[in-house]
């Protein structure tokens, strides 16, 4: 018997875990749909639509980021919720599946299923509301830029086809990182995983940012930049950040996996 990974056993495990996790997942999903619909409804009242401008739909950016963060983090931190309670932990540890299978099943539900569901859900709700607006409003406006060129903009663009969203690709690693951080938190802490993870994350980010600002200040105070323009290009900075994000994600996953294997009950 293969004690590391067996595809049949992994399939059985996914089916079995749905019994435990399915309910939490479906409830979170229901809340997500409700919250998104609510925010669209609040922001797209008749009044707002009467004086519609290209800014009317700007609420979608913070909405997408905040609900996205909450959904991905809540799902990730609830998958291993049972490990905090001994009776449940015992049953889960004793399921005849390997550590890697149990970990991958967590990744499967909290990432491979959760993130696409979120995107799809956002897409569909956006599609519903925006297409109804598109049916009744002027879609484009135009202006002449400083070079004398006429620029046409789509005022009622679907969320995923806005220019801003297309620049998000620099941050594609973020949901993965959130997933990794909250998975680790839920394994690491015995109880109140979510709140403890969130606080640790905030503390960590604050500490990190202040120390970076402090160090950079010390290093660059009273100095003049004499290097090339390379680091003045945002894209290059973002690229380095992505690399760090990916590295951190992998590291957190690895630590989660090890902690999971060593979890006692």
């Amino acid at each position: 018997m293969n004690n590391t990974f067996n595809i049949n056993r992994f399939g059985l495990l996914l089916k079995r875990q749905w019994l435990d996790f399915g309910k939490i997942y479906l409830i979170s999903f229901g809340v997500l749909v409700g919250v998104l619909t609510l925010f669209y409804a609040i922001n797209l009242t008749e009044d707002n639509l009467k004086y519609f401008s290209s800014n009317t739909l700007n609420f979608r950016y913070p909405l997408f980021l905040i609900t996205g963060f909450l959904f991905v983090s809540i799902i990730a931190s609830s998958y291993f919720i049972h490990l905090g309670q001994k009776p449940k932990a015992i049953i889960n540890i004793l399921i005849p599946a390997s550590g890697i299978e149990k970990f991958l099943s967590a990744i499967f539900y909290t990432l491979i299923i959760a993130v696409p569901t979120y995107l799809l859900c956002f897409y569909l709700i956006d599609l519903t509301f925006v297409s109804s607006i598109r049916a009744t409003h002027t879609l484009t406006s135009s202006y002449t830029d400083y070079q004398g060129k006429k620029v046409i903009i789509d005022n009622v663009a679907y969320f995923f086809s806005t220019k801003t969203v297309k620049e998000f690709y620099q941050f594609y690693y973020v949901p993965f990182l959130i997933n990794a951080v909250f998975l680790l938190g839920s394994i690491f802490f015995q109880n109140f995983h979510y709140i403890k993870t969130a606080i640790s994350l905030m503390a960590f980010v604050t500490l990190w940012m202040t120390s970076i600002i402090f160090i950079m200040n010390k290093l660059t105070n009273n100095t003049v930049w004499i290097g090339g323009p390379y680091w003045q290009d945002d894209n290059h900075v973002f690229f380095v950040m992505s690399l760090m994000g990916i590295f951190l994600t992998l590291a957190f996953w690895l630590i989660s996996f090890i902690r999971l294997k060593e979890k006692e009950a």
Partner: protein
């Protein structure tokens, strides 16, 4: 003529024996588990185990013990002596600080599926999801290749469990019976039960004893921890008692009653190791000088060992 006969018998026996041995070698190499099942060897081997939930408070100090198949072991000990902890060590739920633990050729701490599917662990406190028995079975049984669905159905019937009810709405005793039925139906070779009769009503305890009597096979090693000794004393064939960070006693009922006599006496004399006052005199434990065949009184033995540990040491070494 005789010689001829002898040779004939010899060759006749030799062939299948060789055949078996050769095959056993192959089986041994490929499957540690099968090897362990075809031989009556130690199923569990604990060697110099050191364990503690914190560094300063050790629970087990250099504990060593061997357990084999074909037995029902009764694990006794005071509250906090580490009964549950020992069971958890065997199932790989907690990790020892040092020492080795061998369960059917595996290290339980690695939590390998091949071992996990041979372990039936009934914890004292457990959790069952809010589904019906059918759904629970569908999700969990496929992990155990030898799961016996008919046997499970029989056990559920024997235990009188309502099949249509959701597991979460069942009483503690009913839930316990469900997990016992499930655990036994997995056909696991190592059956570990932590206080299994807790929460069972009187008829259920009798059903439980019947079920355990039939579940005890030559391939199985059954370990039951209990402080309600009277519920199980006729089921247990070997007593393991934990005290003061170690195994205070591990002996079969046969061995204990060969060495000790348990009987009612009117007066206490020097030969008595330990006695408790009772209605008509004393219940006493004494060395078995006259090869008497007394019934082991586990509760009395338990108290006797706690009180007079030193006197028992030379008897069981």
């Amino acid at each position: 003529m005789r010689g001829m006969m002898g040779m004939k018998t010899l060759t006749h026996i030799r062939l299948p024996l060789n055949f078996f041995q050769n095959n056993l070698e192959i089986i041994k190499q490929h499957h540690t588990l099968v090897y362990y099942l075809t031989n009556t060897v130690d199923m569990i081997n604990i060697n110099n185990l050191n364990f503690g939930y914190s560094k300063h408070k050790p629970l087990f100090k250099n504990m060593s013990m061997r357990l084999s198949n074909g037995h029902i072991y009764g694990l006794l000990g005071k509250n906090g002596a580490g009964k549950s902890t020992l069971l958890k060590n065997l199932a790989g739920l907690v990790y020892a600080q040092s020492g080795t633990l061998d369960v059917m050729g595996f290290n339980p701490a690695k939590r390998q599926p091949a071992l996990l599917e041979q372990i039936c662990f009934i914890p004292e406190e457990f959790y069952l999801p809010s589904v019906k028995i059918d759904a629970y079975l569908k999700a969990n049984a496929p992990f155990y290749k030898k799961f016996d669905h008919d046997y499970f159905t029989d056990l559920i019937k024997e235990f009188d469990i309502p099949v249509e009810q959701k597991l979460i709405n069942m009483s503690y005793g009913q839930k316990k019976k469900v997990i016992i039925a499930f655990g036994l139906a997995t056909q696991a070779k190592l059956v570990i039960m932590d206080e299994p009769t807790n929460g069972l009503d009187i008829p259920s305890k009798a059903q439980f004893r019947k079920i355990m009597a039939s579940a005890m096979t030559d391939e199985r090693c059954i370990i039951i921890s209990t402080h309600q000794v009277r519920d199980l004393d006729n089921l247990i064939d070997t007593v393991i008692m934990l005290d003061e960070n170690d195994v205070a006693l591990k002996a079969s009922v046969e061995e204990i009653t060969a060495k000790l006599t348990f009987k009612k006496v009117k007066e206490i004399d020097d030969s008595i190791i330990y006695a408790e006052a009772s209605l008509s005199g004393y219940n006493a434990v004494m060395p078995n000088y006259h090869q008497e065949e007394s019934k082991l009184d586990m509760e009395l033995l338990f108290n006797a060992i706690l009180a007079e540990k030193i006197k028992f040491k030379p008897l069981f070494s």
